[in-house]
């Protein structure tokens, strides 16, 4: 029976936190934002690469529309914690074809039944439906690029955090 024990030890996080806190707040926040920007670019590019492209004949669905509407939102707080939210945009709908009846009847500012958001399409693709097998492109991107993102964050912080404290 396998009984190997793997020990993971992470050193230096308290030192890094200390170095960041010794900088002016604006500089420290910029450092974290830069590290997150570099790392999230890797994940965003990976997600764009993994996003399924529509290959059917329906003119209402532009090929690559999903990949074009994947973006990143970075937030850094005053306590020097930061996050990057990467994924399909929530407030973008797939366009209606100019020749469709619904598009012609649409009044300014009105909601049109049948419209579908990019985020909804992404959820259907990620988790599948009762009729369609899932294509979990978001999870696949995370699993593929998470280590590269971590390396990018470490490398960026090593370059930007001043030495000698």
């Amino acid at each position: 029976m396998p009984q190997s024990i793997v020990t993971v030890r992470i050193d230096g996080l308290d030192k890094l936190q200390d170095m960041l806190e010794r900088q002016p707040l604006k500089n420290a926040k910029n450092t974290i934002r830069t590290a997150l920007t570099v790392a999230s670019k890797i994940m965003e590019d990976g997600m764009i690469k993994e996003a399924p492209v529509y290959t059917g004949n329906d003119p209402r669905i532009p090929p690559g529309f999903l990949a074009e509407h994947i973006n990143t939102h970075i937030s850094v707080r005053n306590n020097l914690s930061g996050s990057a939210t990467i994924g399909p945009q929530a407030r973008i709908d797939y366009p209606l074809a100019p020749t469709s009846k619904k598009a012609k009847l649409r009044k300014k500012g009105s909601k049109v039944a049948g419209r579908i958001a990019v985020l909804t399409v992404a959820r259907f693709l990620e988790y599948g439906t009762s009729k369609m097998k899932a294509n979990p492109f978001i999870t696949r991107s995370w699993e593929t690029y998470k280590n590269a993102c971590l390396v990018a964050i470490v490398n960026t912080l090593q370059q930007l955090v001043p030495k000698g404290f």
């Binding site: 259907f124 988790y127 439906t129 009762s130 369609m132 097998k133 899932a134 999870t139 699993e143």
Partner: protein
């Protein structure tokens, strides 16, 4: 195989089978890989592998491997899907031990990684509600490597 081994563990668990039912109209046990068959009885669960990683060894292909498994639970009511997901969580979260499959796969660690709701789907006979749970699993595949 890890997927089949986990299938055996879930299908033998009384908590999971209590949620799925023991005499289902579709004649299955309600646990499906990849995609459920047409018109399955509810509730049911669909599982799939959504990520895997080799743990690098200087000696060659390593028996110890990492996989991320996803379980999507469906029911006619949100509560049914949610209870099924919890039944699976009680079994797999923290699971350590052999899976009882033909490869004698041994799970070294299994922890919940992600939970989410699936958008309800309007079907001809009603609405289908879904929940999803992911596990990260480190296991020993005794058929490969060193």
């Amino acid at each position: 195989m890890i997927g089949n081994g986990l299938y055996l563990v879930l299908s033998a668990d009384p908590g999971v089978t209590a949620q799925l039912g023991t005499s289902r109209a579709d004649g299955t046990n309600g646990i499906f890989p990849g995609l459920a068959p047409d018109q399955p009885s509810v509730p049911y669960v669909v599982y799939e592998k959504v990520g895997a990683e080799a743990i690098i060894s200087m000696q060659g292909a390593n028996k110890t491997q990492y996989v991320r498994m996803r379980y999507k639970c469906y029911g006619a009511a949100y509560g049914d899907a949610d209870q099924l997901m919890w039944a699976i969580k009680y079994v797999l979260n923290g699971f350590v031990g052999p899976l009882g499959d033909s490869d004698n796969t041994y799970v070294q660690s299994c922890f919940m990684l992600h939970e989410d709701d699936i958008a309800p789907e309007d079907l001809l006979h009603g609405t289908l509600y879904g929940t999803v749970i992911d596990f990260e699993i480190v296991f020993v595949d005794n058929k490969v490597g060193v």
